[in-house]
């Protein structure tokens, strides 16, 4: 390099906070562009989401027909249809399944390259995941919702705060989902192969996150226990209940606040797991 460049440490000319924000923003951009590369996968994934949306919607509407007062778990037909179709759109936004990047990098030893960067791995991966979510929101959220609106009567949010609350709820859900996936993937530090925990996560997040059926179908005590004791209902059930206006305004906002608590807890846990892992880390391969 230039005579001078190599020896003089770089002095940042902007404030540390702004520099951090710029770095974080650049990483978000990189996540976005990485996923934008795979257009055919985006199209195929969206198509699959729509097909399964029809399946789930007909099943839930059939249940509603048979239920007392035609309101199973307190949802009317329009709310149930909205629940299904927004849920199909959100699946890829929160990125509930299929992320094994961290586990793969630990197993192959490529994690060394992440550790050699002047940025905490949790922060780096989080920023990239937010970029991924942004890309999914722009490409994969709309089509299922549109398909639902064309073929089913969907509930239209009535309160002014519902849509902004939903937006916050989705961002929090993305962060919580990332944190959970990070911890599940990080088991590879100890196990070398995280496929077991990842399978468990796939099952648990689907059933207890509110994907297969609304958790309100459980007895109330069970649903409350799940909400308070695990982050899983905060993944899908909360944003879907917020947009479907299942509850009164107070509980609607309260569920989002609970999400915020879980977001902090899960990220802290991911950071803790990462630090513990680094102490006993064995980087695979020569």
């Amino acid at each position: 390099m230039d005579q001078r460049d190599a020896s003089v440490p770089t002095i940042s000319r902007i404030s540390p906070f702004r520099a951090s924000a710029t770095t974080f923003g650049a990483l978000i951009g990189s996540g976005f562009r990485r996923y934008a590369t795979y257009r055919q996968a985006t199209i195929a994934g969206t198509f699959t989401n729509i097909v399964f949306g029809f399946l789930r919607c007909y099943v839930l509407l059939a249940v509603a027909e048979e239920a007392v007062g035609q309101r199973p778990a307190g949802y009317d037909a329009g709310q149930l249809a909205l629940y299904v179709w927004v849920g199909q759109g959100l699946l890829s936004v929160i990125g509930i399944w299929g992320w094994t990047e961290l586990a793969d990098r630990i197993r192959s030893g490529d994690i060394a390259a992440d550790l050699l960067r002047p940025i905490a791995p949790v922060t780096g991966f989080l920023a990239a995941d937010l970029g991924r979510a942004l890309h999914a929101m722009m490409t994969r959220f709309g089509p299922p919702l549109l398909a639902g609106a064309v073929f089913f009567p969907l509930h239209t949010p009535a309160r002014w705060q519902t849509v902004p609350l939903f937006a916050v709820s989705v961002i929090l859900a993305v962060i919580i989902c990332f944190g959970c996936r990070y911890v599940v993937n990080a088991t590879a530090y100890w196990l070398q192969d995280a496929r077991g925990p990842i399978t468990l996560w796939t099952l648990g997040s689907g059933v207890l996150g509110g994907l297969y059926f609304p958790l309100r179908l459980f007895p109330q005590e069970v649903a409350v226990a799940l909400w308070v004791a695990t982050p899983l209902p905060s993944l899908l059930q909360t944003p879907l209940d917020v947009i479907a206006e299942r509850d009164g305004p107070a509980l609607q906002a309260g569920l989002v606040a609970l999400q915020a608590v879980w977001a902090v807890v899960v990220l802290a846990l991911a950071g803790l797991v990462q630090r513990r892992a680094e102490r006993r880390l064995v980087v695979q391969g020569g």
Binding site: D2, G25, A26, L27, S30, R33, E278, V283
Partner: protein, 316 residues
């Protein structure tokens, strides 16, 4: 710039002992390494597979926690101050990538600029230099996953240098490269080292890398340093000799002896002979040989570093 004092790394391995029982066994990957490397030095760090080279490098870069001993790089303790140290060192692992698989090379570089918070002008200047020295232009827009190994390695080198590191760690940077790419990488590193600003630590199995680049050679085996000095010192220590190879018109007489040399090989029905020059000059040996028998052709071979190192690796 780099200090290691009695540096050790032990791994615990579980060995099968019976149907369910496992016995714990401790393996010393690095077993008490003492080294000091000054600013601007270019050090070759070699050893057989499993000798502890990569483990040492991982401890120097803060990726692995040492089991015992002390280590400091740029005055920092690598593991506790890893993110701080990351700003001042560059690392190239020949077998791993630090680039983003899905992104074009130039986007990886741009992202690194943000991660290392390098001012745009400095970044541009360094990138310009690497582009011309490493011929990056033709594949700058290609996603990393589509690059050939040689192209990727040139990209990796650039990525490691864009933040102007004080120390560059290279772990087998020429592994798997073709001759032309190897030469390009070596020439680039030689030029980098010539400025004297960057301290370079290079592990490799290709001794030509070392001969071309490093004045100082550290040989490690079974986690211990077995040689630390110049290549010449290594030759001297292990008695490497130049050899004189001669093609003769007729086989040597049975009782022929050339003073100060040892006859080490006779091939081609006695028409080709090889003498090791023990205690005489090449001129004297040639004169003696030509005077005794008619000679068709002569060549003088420098000692081969690979032979010396092979002897070093296999010696108990």
């Amino acid at each position: 710039m780099i200090k290691m004092q009695d540096l050790q790394k032990h791994f615990t391995v579980r060995v099968k002992a019976g149907r369910l029982r496992r016995k714990k066994r401790t393996v010393a990957a690095v077993d008490g390494v003492n080294l000091t490397i000054e600013r601007g030095e270019m050090v070759g760090y070699i050893g057989p597979n499993g000798a502890g080279k990569s483990t040492t490098l991982k401890m120097l870069t803060g990726v692995l926690t040492p089991s015992a001993g002390e280590v400091s790089v740029c005055g920092l303790a690598p593991v506790p101050q890893r993110t701080k140290l990351a700003l001042r060192i560059g690392v190239v692992f020949g077998q791993r990538s630090q680039l983003w698989w899905d992104l074009p090379l130039h986007e990886s570089f741009e992202l690194l600029r943000h991660i290392y918070r390098v001012p745009a002008a400095e970044h541009a200047a360094r990138l310009r230099r690497c582009r011309s020295l490493l011929d990056l232009d033709e594949f700058l827009d290609t996603p990393v996953r589509q690059l050939s190994l040689g192209q990727r390695m040139r990209g990796e080198l650039t990525a490691a240098l864009l933040h102007g590191p004080e120390v560059l760690f290279l772990d087998e940077p020429t592994i798997g490269l073709d001759v032309v790419s190897k030469q390009a990488v070596r020439a680039f590193l030689a030029e980098l080292g010539a400025t004297g600003d960057v301290t370079l630590v290079l592990t490799t199995h290709d001794l030509a890398d070392i001969e071309r680049l490093c004045e100082r050679l550290v040989v490690i085996d079974h986690g211990r340093v077995v040689h630390d000095g110049s290549i010449e010192a290594l030759h001297a220590r292990y008695g490497s000799r130049r050899s004189l190879v001669a093609d003769l018109e007729q086989p040597l007489p049975a009782d022929f002896a050339l003073p100060g040399t040892v006859l080490t090989a006779v091939t081609a029905n006695g028409h080709r002979v090889t003498f090791s020059l023990e205690s005489t000059t090449a001129a004297a040996a040639v004169a003696g040989l030509v005077a005794a028998v008619p000679v068709r052709d002569l060549s003088l071979l420098e000692p081969d570093i690979e032979d010396v190192v092979a002897r070093l690796y296999t010696s108990p």
